[in-house]
Symmetry: C2
Subunit: 80 residues, 2 copies
């Protein structure tokens, strides 16, 4: 089974990387660009009995390692 995990900063948390990307895009002439938020993505192959147990285990992994839940949100997508 393959899963994708998206880790993004919570709203209100300063995102200097996103701001730097937005500034760079504007300097390249992309005036239509508004806010940019940068996050992390993990593609994880996981052996699990079923989708629910995979989702539960992946949630634990996010809470313990992949996301800093004080300032980050995470989203789990089971791909197949």
């Amino acid at each position: 089974m393959q899963a994708r995990i998206f880790v993004t900063l919570k709203n209100g948390v300063l995102d200097p990387q996103g701001k730097a990307v937005a500034t760079a895009l504007h300097s390249l002439g992309y005036e239509g660009v508004g806010a940019v938020r940068q996050g992390k993505m993990f593609e994880i192959d996981i052996a699990a009995a079923d989708r629910e147990s995979a989702r539960a285990e992946l949630g634990e992994m996010c809470e313990r390692l992949l996301a800093n839940t004080v300032i980050e949100n995470y989203e789990i997508e089971i791909v197949d």
Copy 2:
């Protein structure tokens, strides 16, 4: 309009970050975890006439700035 861009390493390109995450997850007891690939995600607010022109412009942004197309793939998702 909001778009999400996923930038991931091409297959065959060494992913030391992904390996480090996999090792850490194993040490936390998650034996069911196989390969882990780490990538970047951008959430971009963009003003565009329609979805097609937004997708074209975002593609340009990826080619010019957001992805190193020698070693990375990118995927564009128009959210709304």
